[in-house]
Amino acid sequence: MSQTYKFVPGIFLGFLLFLVACSDKTEIIDPPPAYTPTPYELEIPYAFPTKLNIPEDNPLTVEGVELGRYLFYDGRLSGRTHPDSLMSCSSCHIQENNFEPGVDHPVFEGGFVHGLSGQQTHHVVLPLVNLVWNSSGYGWNGSFYNNNENPNQRQIEDIVTLSVIAPDEMHGDTNRVKALFQSLDGYPELFYKAFGSDQITFKNMARAIAQFVRTLVSADAKIDRYLRGEEQLTQSELNGFILFTTEEGADCFHCHGGFGNPLFTTHLFYNNGKDTIFNDPLDRFAVTGDPMHKGAYKAPTLRNISLSGPYMHDGRFATLDEVIDFYSHEVKWSDQVDPLMHHVLRGGVQLTPSEKADVKAFIATLHDEKFLNNPAYGRPEKFPDQD
């Protein structure tokens, strides 16, 4: 008897193992993985701000960013599956074009984009670069800002929502989009991992995309390596840097940064003397109500600016050369022109051809190939429902 009893625990354990093995095979008992999102550590590049614009209710997580990347690139974000009706953030925000459409876009001629309804956007596309450091308002007129009384116009999350709905963009319906993604294999599981629920809400879709957008960091251009003391600029680039950061030169730095502000923008709004009559219903004046802000728009970052055409809020300049010519000779006086445009009565900063070449050479040092080719920012090889 005693000999037999010795085997009982072993038999019992074996039976348990058998059960577990069976359950694996039959997939009867498969508890959901624990909801333990991994914090996403955003590295602060040299001399970059340490303060990040991340809403408290949407911290960066590895899972959220991964999901956001899928959604950013998934054309079904339009809420439609027909090949002609696919549209996502990446339709206009193309990585190799600095997350802009690019002037040579096959559909959006000259870089002017239109939505699924055919309607063109009011302003041209702004790049998605280093936005986690923008606390001054998103968009050309900064109408999405942190302490906006309208809680639906504050953050990147809100811009995502607007982009899905707006006729000049995806022209979709958030409920339909949500339902579509709920039906796609793999997505509910990713939502569970990112937000603790496999019941997809559009709010969580917007949150995930916003998380991904906040990780798009450009900080390894030649100018960054120069600022870190790792690489020297050429003589022409150095001349351009001096012109860029001197009032008697090209005078760019007050709005577009430099050594002390490697974002190469203040993210603030200026009337830079393009016009004398201001009737755009979506200028900075539309946000602040201050008549002195008529005709004022965001100074965009100059990182990868050579890819960011067409230039200015309305895309009036196709090339960087045209922009440099404008700041040199074509600046126009108005009551609203920003005081920082102190060359206005001379029509601009009066750069000579060689100075223009130097400024352009310097601006080229803001070109960040690593950003434009970073696989973490690129299109996923396949989407969660694809084998």
Binding site: A47, F48, P49, T50, K51, S135, S136, N239, F241, I242, L243, T245, T246, E247, E248, G249, D251, F253, H254, G257, G258, F259, G260, N261, T266, H267, L268, D290, M292, W333, D335, V337, D338, P339, L340, M341, H342, H343, V344, L345, R346, V349, Q350, T352, S354, E355
Partner: protein, 341 residues
């Protein structure tokens, strides 16, 4: 026992009953005495029944009093706070931005759009000459003031200063040489004040932006920016330096001015910071906040000691040391300290 003050009708405040650094037994003795004496007085006024009910309450109150006495006995000094409200005035009136309603001493009609500046090494000067550094939450005496950011117009750190009489305040306008280091601020809005490396690096001490009506009757922008000045190599005069970039000895460069096509090299830098001393007595009372008003009289930048004429200096002066020099000579007289409201 000799230094112990007993219950005395002349003492208005119970906290004053024990003024000395008594030892605990002495205090306990005094408490007993106090209870006894007070108890007798109260007994004279109340019937025994009432007293029985009140006695626990009174005991607790007395214990609290005893506790507070102990505290004040272990701390010799008392403390209070200061709060600075910063105001920008023109001709003694609160600044109205973007209003072309002012005329400076040179006769320029002008307006001011914004003022952004740094005040550092702020010190309260006690009557005995002791200086107390006012520090921000990062434990540095650096404060950024911006007319576009209302909360930047108040300096109230919650810092404790000895209560007593003070003779005034002094501070550095901008940054001294040691403290004016590039990248010390990486976050906006302070980082937006960076001063280009080629021009000396560090930070703008001040950006005072506006417009004036020039000799042609046109409204022209001016950027009265102060920071590190430069000495430029003068190609035409060996061994001499130019203090104003792109400018000959003549000051008539505004109409039709063309900047030179070649940038002359910078030979050296001039740190333009200055110290402001404001003699204005004020009192910091125990556990109270002394409200002070720090005023910038904007028109004084253009006249306090030397007249500054926008028609002479044009729109931008970061590369014109002679223009900045006028600013730093006038600067110490630009500020005023008053009692706050």
């Amino acid at each position: 026992m000799a230094n112990v003050v007993f219950c005395n009708p002349s003492h208005r405040n119970l906290n004053c009953l024990f003024k000395t650094q008594s030892k605990l037994p002495v205090l306990l003795y005094n408490l007993r005495q106090l209870c006894y004496l007070c108890g007798r007085q109260i007994l004279n006024h109340f019937k025994t029944n009432t007293m029985n009910k009140l006695m626990p309450v009174i005991s607790v109150l007395l214990l609290f009093a005893f506790g507070s006495c102990q505290k004040s006995n272990t701390t010799e000094e008392s403390f209070g706070e200061t709060a600075f409200q910063i105001s920008h005035l023109i001709d003694n009136e609160e600044l109205t931005t973007d209003a072309l309603i002012y005329t400076n001493a040179a006769g320029n009609r002008y307006m001011v759009t914004e003022i952004q500046w740094f005040i550092t090494n702020v010190k309260l000067i006690a009557e005995d000459g002791t200086e107390y550094l006012v520090k921000n939450k990062d434990d540095e005496s650096v404060f950024y003031v911006d007319t576009d950011i209302p909360e930047s117009m108040t300096i109230n750190t919650g810092q404790q200063f000895p209560a007593g009489e003070y003779a005034g305040v002094k501070f550095t306008f901008g940054f001294n040489k040691a403290e004016n280091q590039s990248h010390r601020f990486v976050n906006p809005p302070e980082s937006y004040m960076f001063w280009p490396t080629y021009l000396g690096g560090g930070y703008h001490y001040m950006k005072l932006n506006g417009k004036w009506i020039n000799q042609q009757g046109k409204t022209e922008p001016f950027n009265f920016h102060l920071g590190i000045g430069q000495e430029y190599y003068d190609e035409n005069k060996t061994n001499e330096v130019l203090y104003n970039f792109g400018r000959s000895d003549s000051y008539e460069h505004c109409p039709g001015y063309q900047p030179p096509s070649v940038l002359p090299p910078v030979m050296g830098f001039i740190h333009n910071y200055f110290t402001v001393e404001l003699n204005h007595p004020f009192t910091i009372k125990q556990d109270q906040t002394a409200l002070l008003e720090l005023l910038m009289h904007i028109e004084q930048w253009f006249k306090a000691k030397r007249i500054y004429d926008h028609d002479v200096w044009g729109g931008a002066i970061m590369q014109q040391q002679d223009a900045m020099e006028i600013g730093i000579q006038n600067g110490p007289m630009v500020f005023e300290l008053r009692n706050g409201k």
